[in-house]
């Protein structure tokens, strides 16, 4: 089932959790809501579930306005961050809960409930734990039981709040893969909230990046990683070098140095305005010929030789002093350069993304 949200606004006191958010979640997709804590992603998820009311805006489930539908009637499966398993009930009773709470007219008989619960426990591969209490389970097992419980009511949508947040690293990785596989089997429209970029990029069909209550970018993992749409996304996904400068035809001026860019992709930026340029570590090359005027000047601080590629940490010089740079090089290239700590070099970007520092504020006015 598809989900749309239209112009959602939500404030908590002075804090804006959602500022006019509109999104489409196509049927059958697994979508990640990704952002730092406080960005509004959990609030959005809870509003979709009906656990929270938006101040204004709509939630459409399969095209029908569900804004006034109580969470009880929305038929959404919600998996809580800390699972919220009922500790006085066995695993079996937890999973059976939703079915047993149905009105008498639509409630299945005990035998049907039993069959259905056991099927679900098989699905999450924990049928052997049916008679245990939640306190006797490991974190990963609780997570899967919580999922089985949510699936028992045959939800139209599955919503997961930080599904792997409370697990340790090893279990996390396993469960991620398992959730992806499960989704491929069930194809139920699913949204999960996470602050972990790796988790979002690895598991989701599509990633929604949020910050300060606004949607920054929506796209496939490749899209959001390779073509970040905003400075925030650049900074949030992967590591990046950020350089301040002035925009000019064909290049960005940084002190006395100039960095070339492809003007076609930035034709909306006015000449002379303050900009931020973003370069990924692997998109920077190091030139030892300091007489060259290409790129920007820097001084080598440390060379880290481990892993499949080497990392070089550098300090900015002159107008960029105080700034740190990080460059990722193939081992062979590093060997050829033979860098020494303290050596003066120049950094040459192979690709440069440029954003205006104060977009939408003509004349450099500040709010």
């Amino acid at each position: 089932m598809s989900i749309q949200v239209r112009n959602l606004q939500k404030r908590f006191g002075d804090f804006t959790a959602l500022a006019n958010v509109s999104l489409d979640f196509p049927a059958g997709e697994l979508v990640a809501l990704l952002g730092p804590s406080g960005c509004g992603k959990t609030t959005l998820l809870r509003i979709i579930a009906g656990l929270e009311q938006a101040d204004s805006g709509q939630v459409l489930l399969e095209g029908a306005d569900a804004s006034d539908t109580h969470v009880r009637e929305r038929q959404v499966g919600f998996v809580f961050q800390h699972y919220a398993l009922f500790r006085h009930m066995t695993v079996f009773d937890n999973v059976a809960f939703g079915l047993r709470m149905r009105p008498r007219s639509t409630r299945p008989d005990e035998a049907t409930i039993r069959r259905k619960v056991m099927e679900l426990l098989e699905l999450v591969q924990l049928a052997w734990l049916a008679d245990r209490f939640p306190a006797q389970l490991s974190g990963g097992q609780r997570q899967r039981i919580a999922l089985a419980r949510a699936l028992a009511v045959e939800p139209r949508v599955l919503l997961l709040d930080e599904p792997f947040g409370a697990l340790d690293a090893q279990v996390r990785k396993e469960l991620r893969r398992w959730l992806r596989k499960l989704h491929d089997e069930l194809h139920i429209t699913s949204i999960f909230v996470t602050h972990d970029q790796e988790e979002a990029l690895e598991v989701a069909d599509r990633v929604v990046l949020m910050d300060h209550g606004k949607v920054e970018q929506v796209g496939s993992p490749e899209q959001v990683y390779n073509q970040p749409a905003t400075p925030f996304v650049y900074g949030f996904l992967g590591s990046v070098n950020r350089i301040h400068g002035q925009f000019d035809a064909g290049h960005v001026r940084v002190g006395d140095d100039r960095l070339p860019h492809s003007p076609a992709s930035h034709n909306d930026i006015r000449h002379g305005s303050d900009v931020q340029a973003f370069v990924r570590p692997h998109e920077l090359d190091i030139v030892t010929d300091t007489d060259s005027r290409a790129g920007i000047a820097a001084r080598v601080d440390r060379v880290l030789r481990f892993g499949s590629s080497a990392r070089v940490e550098l300090d900015g010089v002159d107008s960029l002093s105080g700034q740190r740079f990080e460059v990722e090089l193939p081992d062979s290239r590093l060997y050829a350069l033979d860098l020494q700590a303290g050596q003066n070099v120049r950094l040459l970007p192979t690709r440069l993304a440029v954003f205006e520092s104060n977009p939408g504020l003509p004349g450099g006015k500040t709010a």
Binding site: V71, G77, F86, H88, F133, A135, A152
Partner: protein
């Protein structure tokens, strides 16, 4: 791990434990032993005759009956009060919350005369209850019930309140998202979590009520066979210098108290085992 932890780096184990044991023995254990030793001076037949005197039997019925009823009333209303204090916002809430402990802080004799002033036939409430409804409260078992409700009131509220405060909203949200109605959520998700605390509060209120003296004697009227509580029977025997008789009744009450204490401890251990570990 052997019994004593001699290898702890902290000092003062011998001193603190020794002092604790000596003080405990002198203040608590020795006097208690005196009670049990005194009953040994009675033969079982004598003992049985004393503790089954009709007047004493009537006092058990009264004490246990009214205590049970008072504890039940406190369980129901204590839960409502705890619920209101944790879940609802209303003006004067802080005051209500602080005053719930009044029965712990107010001397029982003061409570006794205050309740009598309220429920006596010519009292604030008594004149209406007796005049309009024809029900006599003070100087009847009903008056005893009122006093026992008063002194037992904080127990259920204070055992349930922290549990309710610690209960994350997630559990009820989960139940709602699974289609449970609000009533079903409370019945199947919230109440089972509160049950051990409710039982503990009930047992504590009951135990306190059975032994209560000060707040009851003023309002009870102390009519033999009608409104004499068991602690009063002990006093009566004492005033007749019938030490053996007083002691025999005391032993019956003590045994019952210890039973209640065991029950409460068992309950708490059971709760801890069942749900103590975090989610």
């Amino acid at each position: 791990m052997s019994g004593l932890s001699r290898h702890s780096v902290l000092p003062g184990f011998g001193l603190s434990l020794g002092y604790t044991l000596v003080y405990l023995s002198l203040i608590v254990l020795l006097p208690l032993a005196a009670v049990f030793a005194k009953t040994m001076s009675l033969s079982f037949v004598e003992f049985w005759a004393i503790v089954t005197e009709p007047r004493v039997l009537a006092s058990y019925r009264l004490s246990f009956g009214t205590s049970l009823l008072a504890a039940l009333i406190n369980t129901v209303f204590g839960l409502l009060l705890a619920w209101a204090l944790v879940r609802y916002s209303f003006p004067g809430k802080k005051l209500v919350d602080a005053l719930v402990d009044l029965p712990f802080a107010l001397p029982t004799a003061v409570a006794g005369i205050a309740l009598t002033a309220l429920y006596a036939p010519n009292g604030w409430l008594g004149q209406f209850i007796q005049g309009d409804l024809g029900i006599k409260v003070a100087f009847t078992p009903l008056g005893i019930l009122v006093a026992l409700v008063f002194i037992g009131l904080p127990f259920v509220v204070r055992t349930v309140q922290p549990i309710l405060e610690d209960l994350d909203s997630e559990f009820e949200e989960a139940a709602a998202s699974l289609g449970a109605s609000r009533w079903q959520t409370i019945r199947y998700v919230v109440l089972p979590v509160l049950l051990p605390a409710l039982l503990t509060g009930f047992a504590l209120a009951f135990a306190r009520a059975v032994g209560e003296y000060g707040s009851v004697i003023f309002i009870a009227g102390n009519i033999p066979m009608v409104s004499e509580i068991t602690p009063l029977m002990i006093i009566t025997k004492l005033e007749q210098y019938n030490y053996a008789g007083a002691t025999a009744i005391a032993v019956v009450m003590l045994l019952l108290s210890f039973l209640m204490l065991l029950l409460v401890n068992g309950l708490q251990a059971w709760t801890a085992r069942r749900t103590g570990r975090n989610r």
